[in-house]
């Protein structure tokens, strides 16, 4: 089973939930956690295991070979992403904007734009007993998160093929990188906080997940602050809330130091246990 942990709003506790849930669940069975928040991957700050592997993440971009090029400009014309341009007597490639669609390369009449590998980030794989963590990290300056996310998912299929329970930590928001992490999930957990901002962004996230025909449940973080908006919305929409993580300054402090919460906060462990029971009954 693949479970994606997502949130509309950032900073609602996505990484806290995925790292703590993964570590607690792994006390019972093997878990694979994929950190797909490749712009700001933080799982490794909280889960420190034995390094298993490190790989360079590559994407393919066109490389201009001037000798055969007739400067016809077709490459610039076909690129929908403004990633290749004819400037005077030169063809310039903007790697950060390239989506690796191969159109310019495949359509070039003189074969002057072979696709070559370019580093876009790194992947780290580490292990703690029953828990495999694979973290994707986009290089600073790279703008396209989706190709890096795809690579991390491919790595899991190749290197941990028998993983039967996969947790995926998604980026915040509702745009293309989030879709990439939700579209092959069996179930989605949306984590939010009970505030007007949390509610506003939760609604967008729920619409996104529904648009992809996925089942989902909501976890409330910082339960006790804010108002009843999120609870009322979930009840109106028939969304289950299998766990509520209490608002507690001590939890925030434990998190700030890069430590797992549940080993020192029994309330957190209890809520996570509810969530595990809920997810195992799916």
């Amino acid at each position: 089973m693949k479970i994606t942990i997502a949130s509309g709003k950032g900073g609602t506790g996505k990484t806290t939930l995925s790292t703590n849930l993964a570590a607690l669940w792994a006390e019972k069975r093997h878990i694979t956690l994929l950190d797909l928040d490749v712009e700001e991957p933080n799982s490794g700050l909280f889960l420190k295991g034995t390094p298993i592997n490190r790989e360079i993440l590559e994407k393919f971009i066109p490389e201009w070979h001037a000798d055969k090029c007739r400067l016809c400009g077709l490459c610039q014309e076909v690129c929908e992403f403004n990633a290749i341009m004819k400037l005077g007597t030169e063809i310039m490639v903007f790697p950060e904007l390239c989506h690796s669609c191969h159109a310019c390369s495949g359509l070039c009449p003189t074969g002057s734009l072979p696709m070559v590998a370019r580093e876009m980030g790194e992947l780290y794989h580490y292990r703690m007993d029953n828990l495999d963590v694979v973290e994707g990290r986009l290089a600073v300056g790279e703008e396209q998160a989706v190709p890096a996310i795809k690579k991390v998912k491919e790595y899991q299929k190749r290197e941990i093929p028998d993983a039967d329970l996969i947790l995926m930590d998604s980026p915040p928001g509702t745009s293309c990188p989030v879709i990439e992490t939700v579209k092959d999930a069996d179930f989605v957990i949306l984590i939010t906080e009970p505030t007007p901002f949390g509610l506003h962004d939760l609604k967008l996230a729920v619409e996104t997940v529904r648009g992809l025909d996925k089942e989902m449940a909501v976890v409330i973080n910082r339960h006790g602050i804010g108002d009843d908006g999120v609870e009322n919305y979930c009840s109106d929409e028939g969304l289950q809330i299998p766990a509520r993580i209490p608002q507690d300054l001590n939890i925030a402090k434990t998190y700030s130091a890069g430590k797992l919460i549940y080993p020192v906060h029994p309330g957190m462990k209890e809520e996570l246990s509810h969530l595990i029971v809920f997810l195992e009954s799916l």
Binding site: G8, K9, G10, G11, T12, T15, E39, E40, N42, L45, F46, V78, E80, F81, E96, H99, S100, C101, H102, A103, G106, L107, L138, V140, G141, E142, E143, Q144, A145, P171, P172, G173, T174, S175, C176, P177, V178, I179, K183, T195, P196, F197, H200, D201, L204, E207, T208, G211, L212, I225, G226, D227, L249, A252, K253, Y255, S256, A257, G258
Partner: protein, 297 residues
């Protein structure tokens, strides 16, 4: 015209609440732009009255005309995004996977594939209760190209500022370091980073700083929830010194931020306006004005 962009790297550090406070302090001298189009929450604190609204199309999406399709499978062969679904005779595009590159349409020998503009979201121009204009947007579900919508929101705000002779554009940016953030940086004069003294706040601050360095943009930093962790607060202070970034001020961990939000207000308003936090926010805004070389008067 000066342009200030507020960013955070990590989400949930209080970026939007602070930007809304700055917007109130700037009043009608500024045009406000909510470029956090994925989670556009700023309007919840600004009381916008929408004056103008339009649909925003960005990018394209392939559509196969089933009548014209000759099932040659060329589209399937060239697509790098697994967006062509086929059983061997019937071919169709899965919109969620299609990135709109148009390669399939160009190679289709039967001209059966057309590229349709895809709806990326809605754009609004509103009047807000600080007396300013605010440009904001709602991203369509799963839309591509949020970076382009960000650019559009910013450009609209700049156009308004020019038209109305406003000296300041105040931008609430996205978390992260990807395309929406990069898109919000073009034309900026000063970057305000709102961070928190946590291991992830610290980690994400460094990545964001590295990105800003590539654009050679001056920046300053606000440490929110500064009393949460002394060790990381100190690390951040030292880092700001090393990197020659402005230390704009600190805010205490204060649940009144949330209490104010529930009331649709900023921390600068009653009954929170006399708190230490509110006082610090006003001080931070003074420093930002000095750093940018702009003042309301």
């Amino acid at each position: 015209m000066k342009e200030i962009v507020v960013l955070s790297g990590k989400g949930g550090t209080g970026k939007t609440s602070l930007t809304a406070s700055f917007a109130l302090l700037a009043g009608s001298s500024a045009v406000v732009a909510d470029c956090d189009v994925d989670a556009s929450d700023m309007h919840l604190l600004m009381g916008p009255v929408v004056k103008q609204k339009e649909l925003f199309y960005s990018g394209k999406e392939a559509v196969i005309d089933q009548e014209a399709c000759i099932s040659c499978s060329r589209c399937l062969e060239v697509c790098r995004f697994d967006a062509v679904l086929s059983d061997g005779t019937h071919f169709e595009i899965e919109p969620v996977s299609c990135e709109g590159c148009g390669y399939c349409a160009r190679v289709c020998p039967a001209d059966a594939i057309s590229m349709k503009p895809s709806l990326a979201g809605e754009l609004y121009i509103s009047e807000v209760r600080s007396g300013a204009h605010m440009v904001h947007a709602r991203l369509g579900i799963g839309a591509e190209n949020s970076g382009k919508l960000v650019a559009r929101v910013k450009n609209e705000a700049k156009t308004l500022a020019t038209r109305d002779s406003k000296a300041l554009v105040l931008v609430d940016g996205s978390p992260g370091i990807g395309c929406p953030v990069v898109s919000s940086l073009s034309g900026a004069d000063y970057i305000v980073i709102v961070t928190e003294p946590t291991i992830s706040g610290w980690h994400d601050l460094k990545r964001l700083r590295e990105l800003l360095g590539k654009f050679r943009l001056p920046s300053g930093c606000v440490i929110n929830k500064a009393d949460l962790n002394d060790e990381y607060a100190d690390k951040i202070r030292k880092y700001l010194e090393e990197e020659k970034m402005d230390m704009l001020g600190t805010l205490p961990y204060d649940e009144n931020f949330t209490a104010a939000m529930v009331q649709g207000k900023t921390i600068l308003e009653e009954p929170f306006s006399e708190s230490e936090t509110a006082e610090n926010v006003r001080g931070i805004w003074q420093k930002i004005q000095a750093a940018v070389g702009w003042s309301k008067e």
